[in-house]
């Protein structure tokens, strides 16, 4: 402690800290976090074996998918760039670069939640260290470069440069330089969008509007219907969107992609190429500047939480909010001898209040139904036999709905301690949570079912409907059983409706997500041989006969799980404390 000296001089008398020291320190921090993440504690015994099996399955499924996602755009970009130059369509280079940018940015925005699970610290927290703004800007520009979208985007641009080189070796140098600057432009565009979205998403109202806009965007993309909208020429079916893109080709040259493409194509005319390159540099500088404006606000110190302003708006006089009359009456009737016990009713009420206060979650519940409407209206889908379309659509609705069953305590966080401390049976708590999820599933499935029946071109056979009912009960009960077990053994703290880049923005971990998909697809696949056998032997009720007993068995399995929930939860108290109660 000899280093602690008294205050004898003001600021400015110390030698400046070299930039390399601080940059290397942050690089070392990221490395250590990465290494420590690899060396995390692993479970023992059967859970270890199960973990290894899941890890292998996950890799077998995810790695080929990832490889395809990387190889396809990279190889495609290289090939397309080569084609554009060698086949005399150089103007298509601008479209290619625009396509890469759109894909890059779209994946980046949608990857926020994935990044949240990987990200282990908030880079904005670096403002507390003695950094100058310039260094903070550099650090924030560098941190997060190893995201999938950036890696794939850079590789695609490199492949495009190689494609151009192969087609015309004289364009090698300008192609490489321009692609490097274009990559930088994309990186700053991503950073700019991310930083401003982070700012706006701090506002709950904006989060809800954003979720709505994303849902609308997804819907509108479906209605663009690239292959269905024809031109006036009889018999010629072409894309309306591609026509628009072709006719607006000249405007593309005013975008950064146009500047980049023109710089390469005009490489033999240095003056014209310089003007285009200046345009590309200016757009890169513009995105960097807008990003820097946001960072500077952060650097000076800003407060994004809505807590304080909400407190300011809250009325001061009535301190205790009166219960809603309808629900209070219902609770009272329940408590005085209704179907549900007071504990189950109280837990249900809490789940209901949390659900209804979360606009983002409510929008999330509506989204699959919107897609069912779209799929049902689409000829390509409706031509698919309605007896197969119905279970497929219900399975689609269930993917999102049953995911919540796999982490029923996650949203409670440290509040789960109340259940463990209060004189209540954990069985009642689990039952209440499952009842709420079940109610949501029933509503969603019923609405989806009604939509499909209304929009189906041919009536759905009763046998198919009955077998789908049994299949749905079987799948939901099975997911309830596995989900409850998973909720107890692998809980994960999360904040409902959270869309900012933080840990805990997603309700389930990768293993649970894999389980949900595995159960749904596994049971869906069961329908294929059953459906075939049913047609082959001319027994339309075969599927119902098979799924009926399976549904009963699954319900009994769930009842068995529920009976053991109390014991399992008490045995897993330490897991709860570790995963849910830590800050």
């Amino acid at each position: 402690m000899a280093e602690l000296t008294g205050p004898q001089s003001g600021p400015g008398s110390m030698p400046p800290i070299p930039a390399s020291v601080q940059l290397l320190a942050v690089a070392w921090l990221r490395w250590r976090i990465f290494v420590n993440g690899m060396n995390r504690k692993r479970p023992k015994g059967t859970r270890q074996v199960a973990g290894v099996v899941f890890a292998i399955l996950l890799r077998l499924i995810v790695w080929p998918m990832l490889a395809t996602l990387v190889v396809a755009p990279v190889a495609g970009s290289g090939f397309f760039a080569w084609m554009a130059i060698s086949h005399g369509h150089p103007q298509r280079l601008a479209s290619l670069l625009l396509g890469i940018t759109l894909l890059w940015q779209f994946v980046s925005i949608n990857g926020l939640s994935i990044a949240a699970t990987i990200q282990s610290f908030d880079p904005a927290s670096l403002v507390r260290f003695p950094l100058r703004f310039g260094r903070y800007f550099v650090l924030r520009s560098l941190l997060g470069l190893m995201t999938p979208s950036t890696i794939v985007g850079c590789l695609a641009l490199l492949a495009a440069a190689v494609g151009i080189c192969v087609a015309d070796a004289s364009l090698a140098l300008p192609a490489l330089v321009v692609m490097a600057v274009y990559a930088l432009m994309n990186i700053y565009l991503t950073r700019m969008i991310g930083a401003w979205m982070d700012r706006w998403l701090a506002n709950r109202r904006f989060r809800e509007i954003f979720s709505m806009l994303m849902a609308l965007f997804a819907v509108s993309i479906q209605f663009l219907n690239l292959h269905r909208i024809s031109t006036r020429a009889p018999g010629v079916r072409t894309s309306w969107l591609l026509n628009v893109l072709h006719s607006s080709g000249s405007y593309l040259y005013w975008l950064p992609s146009g500047f980049a493409a023109q710089t390469i194509l005009l490489a033999k005319h240095p003056l014209a190429a310089s003007v285009q390159f200046a345009g590309l540099l200016a757009s890169t500088a513009l995105f960097a500047a807008v990003f820097a404006i946001r960072l500077h606000k952060q650097f000076l110190g800003e407060y994004l939480s809505e807590g304080v302003s909400r407190r300011a708006q809250a009325p001061s006089a009535p301190r205790v909010k009166a219960p809603e009359p309808q629900f209070a009456a219902r609770s009272a009737s329940v408590a005085s001898g209704g179907i549900l016990s007071p504990v189950v009713a109280a837990c249900l009420r809490k789940e209901w209040l949390i659900l209804t206060s979360n606009g983002t979650q409510l929008i999330g519940l509506l989204t699959p139904l919107i897609f069912v409407v779209i799929f049902s209206m689409n000829r390509a889908f409706s031509s698919f036999s309605s007896k197969y379309f119905l279970p497929a659509a219900i399975a689609y609705v269930l993917i999102a709905a049953v995911s919540s069953l796999y982490n029923i305590f996650g949203a409670d966080g440290s509040g789960v301690q109340l259940y463990l401390l209060a004189p209540v049976r954990m069985l009642d708590v689990v039952l209440a949570k499952n009842l709420m999820s079940l109610a949501i599933i029933i509503v969603q499935v019923t609405v989806a079912w009604t939509i499909i029946c209304m929009l189906a071109r041919t009536p759905i056979p009763v046998s198919a409907q009955i077998s789908t009912v049994f299949w749905t009960i079987f799948v939901v009960a099975l997911n309830l059983s596995i989900g409850t077990l998973r909720s107890i053994q692998a809980p994960r703290k999360f904040v409902p409706g959270q869309t900012r880049q933080v840990r805990g923005a997603t309700p389930t971990n990768r293993t649970s997500s894999l389980l949900v998909l595995g159960v749904l697809f596994g049971t869906m696949l069961l329908q294929v041989p059953i459906g075939y056998a049913s047609s082959y032997f001319g027994v339309p009720w075969l599927a119902a006969w098979i799924f009926g007993p399976l549904a009963v068995a699954a319900v009994f399995a769930y009842a068995f799980m529920l009976r053991n929930a109390e014991r399992l939860i008490l045995a897993a108290r330490d897991v709860f404390a570790e995963e849910l109660c830590k800050a």
Binding site: L4, P7, P11, G12, M14, L29, F129, R311, Q313
Partner: protein, 278 residues
């Protein structure tokens, strides 16, 4: 006249319509152990965030060690240490790694960083936990580590936001030992705490903030005198006379923030309320 360690002029912070800190003029002399008190939501943490450059003031100025915080934030941050409210540790690092990172960020060379890291971990009794990730630390261990990180670069001013909250007596003893050692070497300490006994025992000067406004500032004796004047005014309005004995900081605090009049309705609640409590 010496340069004050902390000097604010008309410091104000608004959140929408809500004024969290209202026109605060603070002056903390170098080498003082300064206690900054106030009820929950009074504006203590907001003030500390502004004083450490984590939150921009809406208006007013902040001078730390004579330098303007807004204009020289990087230089000033080098000379201050902060234990913030949320601790802001990187949970996926070990204590050893975290201290090394912080040391390097403050510009210490590798050898100094390593030796101070070792020394601090020994002092804080964390040396045996080197393999453990911070996320697996207990709350008290995290507080000790946050303090170690705040002092590794030898700050001249130390800001502590609720350093004793949720800390056991043993850990609190370690923290106090560290703070007293720093004070003896001339470091200025600015501390917020709800544990008034600790503030009374450690702090030489105290300021009290209430509803965003600074309502008292001075040494404990000066606060006693101020509280006595308030109590005298209370007698004239029909209140109870103050006791003759030397009052504790808690009594002074309650008198100054007026908890028994407006801040705390429970203090004047009729006997029959909450009668069901056994």
């Amino acid at each position: 006249m010496t340069t004050p360690a902390i000097d604010t002029t008309a410091l104000t912070r608004r959140f929408g319509d809500f004024i969290a800190v209202d026109n605060v003029n603070l002056r903390v002399e170098a080498g003082q152990f300064f206690g900054f008190l106030g009820p929950n939501g009074a504006g203590k943490s907001t003030t500390i965030k502004m004083l450490t450059g984590l939150l921009a003031p809406t208006s007013g100025s902040i001078r730390i060690l004579g330098g303007d915080l807004q204009a020289n934030s990087a230089e000033i941050k080098r000379q201050i240490g902060v234990v913030p409210e949320g601790l802001a540790l990187f949970g996926r690092l070990t204590a050893d790694e975290y201290l090394q990172f912080v040391g390097r960020m403050y510009g210490l060379d590798r050898a100094t960083t390593l030796s101070r890291t070792r020394e601090l971990l020994e002092f804080m009794q964390l040396a045996g936990e080197q393999k453990k990730l911070i996320t697996d630390f207990s709350h008290g261990m995290q507080k000790k580590l946050a303090l170690a990180a705040a002092v590794i670069h030898g700050p001249k001013v130390l800001f502590l936001d609720e350093p004793f909250e949720g800390v056991d007596a043993v850990a609190a003893g370690t923290l106090k030992a560290m703070l007293l050692r720093m004070i003896s070497r001339g470091v200025t300490i600015f501390l917020t705490s709800h544990v008034l006994e600790i503030v009374e025992r450690l702090c030489t000067h105290i300021a009290i903030i209430h509803r965003g406004r600074l309502v008292a500032q001075g040494s404990l004796d000066e606060l006693r005198a101020g509280a006595a004047r308030i109590a005298q005014a209370g007698i004239q309005e029909g209140g109870a006379p103050p006791s003759e004995e030397k009052r504790s900081l808690e009594q002074i605090f309650l008198e100054i923030v007026g908890a028994d009049r407006e801040g705390n309705p429970a203090a004047t609640a009729p006997e029959q309320e909450l009668s069901w409590l056994s």
